[in-house]
């Protein structure tokens, strides 16, 4: 039986995330109450795990490092069909860069025990670095393929997957256990069902802190992060706008004329 671990992240709702701004006067972050949702690309990772479970025997664990509120997205994944959920949460995890995040998740995954496949979205909608998947792989000493767009051959132990590259793909042969970070092209995520939500009530969410992971204070959070934010500033506009007026027809005509005059049409 496969054990598939899906790494998920709670992110500020991308549709409202532009409310979080740097204040131009104080040059600090003006936080606003944007709700946390499941990272969009992680839905595709969950879908890949659940789809695989439909045709092969598999146990799916959803794991996340986040504040207590991130428990909601773990619950959501249980409702989608994951078998168990794990939340890695601790005050000392705050301020983690990707190195500390990946190391913490790797420790959590090692604590789970045996795993065959780890899936994550290729990037989060807030940080968007694309680093955590490959860095977990480096810490666990297993292979990784990023930007997976197709699972071409699925095992049992040797998988073949297509990874997106500029204007094409590379076909990779991988021996499990391994990590795949996935793109939107891979699949269409299923939506929550009422029966899934009911079944989720019986499923377990484990909550692990830094000490549960045996993590020394200087290896997590801000203290465990090699990078740190140094300065924040705002960018001033460099152009003076001319608003084109008139009826819609006139505006279109004026614009075409301006572009033509500049030799652009």
């Amino acid at each position: 039986m496969y054990h598939i671990v899906v790494c998920i992240k709670a992110v500020p709702d991308p549709k409202q995330a532009d409310q979080i701004r740097i204040d131009p006067v104080s040059k600090t972050l003006k936080r606003s109450e944007v709700p946390l949702v499941l990272n969009p690309l992680d839905k595709h990772a969950m879908e890949a795990a659940l789809h695989f479970k439909e045709t092969s025997e598999a146990f799916v664990t959803a794991i996340s490092m986040g504040p207590p509120e991130a428990g909601n997205i773990v619950k959501e994944c249980l409702a989608l069909g994951a078998d168990q959920g794990i939340l890695l949460s601790d005050r000392t995890f705050a301020g983690s860069d990707t190195y500390a995040t990946a190391l913490t998740l790797a420790r959590g995954i090692e604590k789970i025990g045996r795993y065959d496949l780890i899936l994550c979205g290729m990037a989060s909608s807030d940080g968007g670095t694309e680093w955590v998947g490959p860095q977990i792989a480096a810490f666990l000493g297993i292979p990784v393929v990023t930007m997976v767009e197709e699972l071409t051959e699925t095992g049992p132990e040797i998988w073949k997957v297509k990874a997106s590259i500029e204007n094409g793909y590379r076909l990779m042969q991988v021996k499990l256990p391994a990590i795949f970070t996935v793109t939107r092209t891979l699949n269409s995520p299923r939506v929550l069902s009422f029966s899934g939500i009911i079944k989720a009530r019986k499923k377990q969410i484990l909550c692990w802190s830094a000490s549960d992971l045996g993590a020394a204070e200087d290896t997590v959070g801000l203290l465990g992060s090699p990078t740190v934010v140094s300065t924040m500033t705002t960018r001033s506009s460099r152009r003076q706008v001319e608003i084109i007026n008139g009826t819609s027809e006139e505006k279109a005509e004026i614009l075409v004329q301006k572009l033509a005059d500049a030799g652009l049409v």
């Binding site: 701004r21 190195y99 500029e166 990078t227 140094s230 706008v241 819609s248």
Partner: protein
Amino acid sequence: MLIPADDRLMKVFRKRKDQKMTREGACNPIWVFAEQAEGQIQDVSLQLVGKARELARALNTTVEVILLGCGMKDQVQFLFAAGADRIYLGDAPVLKWYEPEIYTQMIVSLAEEKKPEIMLIGSTCTGRELAPMVAARLKTGLTAHCIDLLINETRILEQWIPAYGGLISIICPKNRPQMATVARGVFPRPTMDENRHGDVVMLDIPTNIPGRIQTLQVVRREPETVPLESAAIVVAGGVGAGNEEGWRQIAALARALHAALGCTRPVVDEGWAGHETMIGQSGKMVSPELYIGIGLSGELQHLIGVVSAKVMVAVNKDARSPVFEQVDYGIVEDCRTFVPLLIEKINVYRSRQAGA
């Protein structure tokens, strides 16, 4: 001059290069990982060598490049011309394509031995997989999608990225090397000096590779449309398009103008366009003559991808949209009604020109 990877000679180099000196003295070299695809060195790598040259001047050090591939010996001249002082060359059939375990092992081993001060890697699909693995193995920090790099007064590399409507600088104060990825087009192609030369150090291929992952095939398709990075005209659409039908209208406008079509991240989230057409910090960087932003709000994460443009135009139905502070011409219209109108006027203009 080819120098064998030989212990005795390496000790001499180590003594000269690896000593970390005081604030005013020299420091260890700046590295660039040069990416090749099908035997061609990628533009982003030359751009990064140029930038590394500038950073090296500020730190009083040299620029070294790692190049892995097969049959690349005649390409090294481009890297010297761009500003490299030394090239570490891995040349073997097994390196023809990016092989994750081998490439990572070779870079990590060399970096552990040579201890570079800074390492820059192009933010390509390969780079975005290789860089984080290398950084994790070297236990160091890595910043993604930088839009600027500079050495500050404490001789630390400031890595600038757009975030939260502004710009933030990230630093890696203690761990080394300080690593950053940068997309093609952020920095200009350097002036090539054909008279520059340097030394080439051949790298051994490691034998202790686990062998759990292999590249079986690399397939490239002909790009269907004008590539964004080199397009003279770029039409970028945002979620103001409303739906797939609205998006198709914007695509039709791009065709009418013979423009490349780009988009914002929310459009990719909606599924109307692919990640490879996204313009912005974690997508493509463009430098067109004309940029037209349709139904987008002018988020810094997106507009930072417009490195330069002669003329910028925006169409947005909200007169107070921040995009209007960042362009030359603004049109306050709902793009769903305005774009078809604009296409019509373009066709009318063209047929008039043809008739005349």
